[in-house]
Symmetry: C2
Subunit: 334 residues, 2 copies
């Protein structure tokens, strides 16, 4: 059977209170006692039950991570960093892929609360911000990842999407493209990238048109689909800014299928700088997010929040970086 604190106490000839004290490193006691107990714990291969101590209001040492899709390399890469950092602090993480679907978001959130996770890292959009608001009101430690919500009043860790969008678009303009189509998602981060895209129009004296915005969800298939749609337009397009690498790859594949050479006939910029951007041919020009820094930081923040050390709700913004690879080039007049 499972060895409990009683077994240890009995074998060590002390009370369970004493054992509890050595487990939690609290209270004072003689070194001999402590050592004796420690020794017995080893002998019996005793491991305190997280359940029992959680029931007493202690931490579960578990984090909940809500992402749109763990199979999207951007999220799996950041999840890996989060996982490592969390484990360093003795915490494990339960992952949940929401597909940005409100029903799933609700369901997983409830599940995670029932499991009494100590804190939540949310990278899923939550169109219905009231759910999150409720959580915050109930003092559930919560940090936003890849997005910020001023109204929510929680710390957030994200890249400066606005600047990223601005730089991606500016890069295209400075290459001589006159008309840049943006493929965006319905997420807060995409929204900011879109604003950056608009700002770039102003900065470069280009006219902005709503028609140049295409909206979809992140996937290679959707990227390809959007590209097909773009091809149907009468005006020939020479430049596309896809709001993430998955979408960009879809465009790239579409272009290849149609025999449209990149970057000669079409320039393309992605976002995220996942492994995908580095392995395609031509390699993808994209906006890099400091994935590792962000992942590490977000767990540091959530842990501080859990410990109640954080009162200031800061917005932590990382600098995006344009990585020029092979999918962008000067516009060629035909």
């Amino acid at each position: 059977m499972k060895v409990t604190i009683y077994d240890v106490a009995a074998k060590a000839g002390v009370s369970i209170a004493t054992v509890s004290k050595v487990i939690n490193n609290t209270g004072k006691m003689r070194d001999v006692t402590r050592h004796k107990v420690l020794e017995v714990m080893k002998e019996l291969n005793y491991h305190p039950s997280v359940m029992a101590s959680a029931l007493m209001g202690k931490a579960t040492e578990t984090l909940g991570l809500l992402v749109p899709d763990i199979s999207n390399p951007f999220f799996s890469e950041i999840a890996r960093t989060i996982e490592d950092r969390a484990h360093e602090q003795g915490m494990s993480v339960i992952m949940c892929s929401t597909d940005e679907n409100e029903v799933k978001e609700r369901k997983y959130l409830e599940l995670l609360q029932r499991k009494q996770v100590d804190g939540l890292i949310v990278a899923s959009s939550f169109n219905d911000r009231n759910i999150l608001k409720q959580l915050v009101k109930n003092d559930v430690p919560l940090v936003m990842l890849t997005q910020h919500d001023a109204a929510l009043g929680v710390t957030s860790v994200s890249v400066d999407d606005f600047t990223g969008g601005f730089e991606a678009t500016s890069h295209l303009f400075s290459l001589g493209h006159k008309n840049v189509i943006i493929i965006a998602e319905n997420t807060p981060s995409s929204k900011m990238r879109l604003y950056g895209y608009r700002e770039a129009h102003e900065a470069h004296d280009m006219v902005f048109s709503e028609d140049n915005i295409i909206r979809t969800n992140a996937s290679v298939a959707n990227g390809k689909k959007c590209f097909d749609e773009i091809l149907k337009r009468e005006q020939q397009t020479t430049a596309i800014f896809a709001c993430n690498d998955l979408l960009a790859i879809g465009v790239l594949q579409g272009a290849k299928e149609k025999g449209i050479s990149v970057p000669d006939r079409l320039s393309l910029v992605g976002f995220d700088d996942t492994i995908l951007a580095k392995t395609t041919a031509p390699a993808l020009t994209t906006i890099a997010q400091p994935i590792e820094d962000m992942g590490n930081r977000v767990v540091d923040v959530i842990i501080e929040t859990i410990k109640g050390k954080i009162s200031s709700k800061e917005r932590i913004l990382y600098k995006p970086k344009l990585i020029v690879r092979e999918t962008t080039g000067k516009v060629i007049d035909s």
Copy 2:
């Protein structure tokens, strides 16, 4: 404060025992009572504490997933399937990336046990099989993923690696290559692929040489490194079988850097058929694993094991499928 079973009982004018019965759908009671309780639970937004019921020996509704590296697309893709299927059954999954490192394997396993996960899906190698043996002896529900261990006596879900290795190698031989180098990992699955590779030599009357085996760990960087090493050999090599897509991509990148055209000067086969295989250029010829089927199946199996329904320790083998894309071609005599 948190609403407990007592609050519900009080408000519904019944005892906590009754509430417990409606929660668990056990025992008999009048419909009015049940409905009244249900109603109050809604009203109070009550959610039973998993901690408390777990302490009573009930399930935690949590699965532990041990993979080498969640940021490897193969594992993130299968993790996504696992997660979805688990959630369908009301279970969440804690992910752990071991890097095939024994220390981490031990640590995570202990953590998972302290958290009383209901079952374990292990896709990490565990060089020290005794750890797993101990688990099995202690009746911890456990299923192996992507590997099998006859001695362990647990159900396993994997692809037929032997056949996969055989087909990858045979494909290369039938294209006229005389010398195929294999880049393998130190994992059970790679070992089987390697046996398949050897078998292909026999089948095609080729001489097998230990020198053609290069060992490393899964990563793009390592793939590239191995390729560099291969280039140093005096004998020119025209064909490489990399035991997973990550490694293959590394080779592909190395070849590109050195100006070695694929598949003209070098044919390359990967394994897994992850998103990477589909997005590189040239697209990677690889051995596909039915990721979705495997992921779904492994959670079905672990759940059955948890419920004690499974006594037969079966070995579930999926059929690999050679996907010929653009990195393999007939050998060109020079």
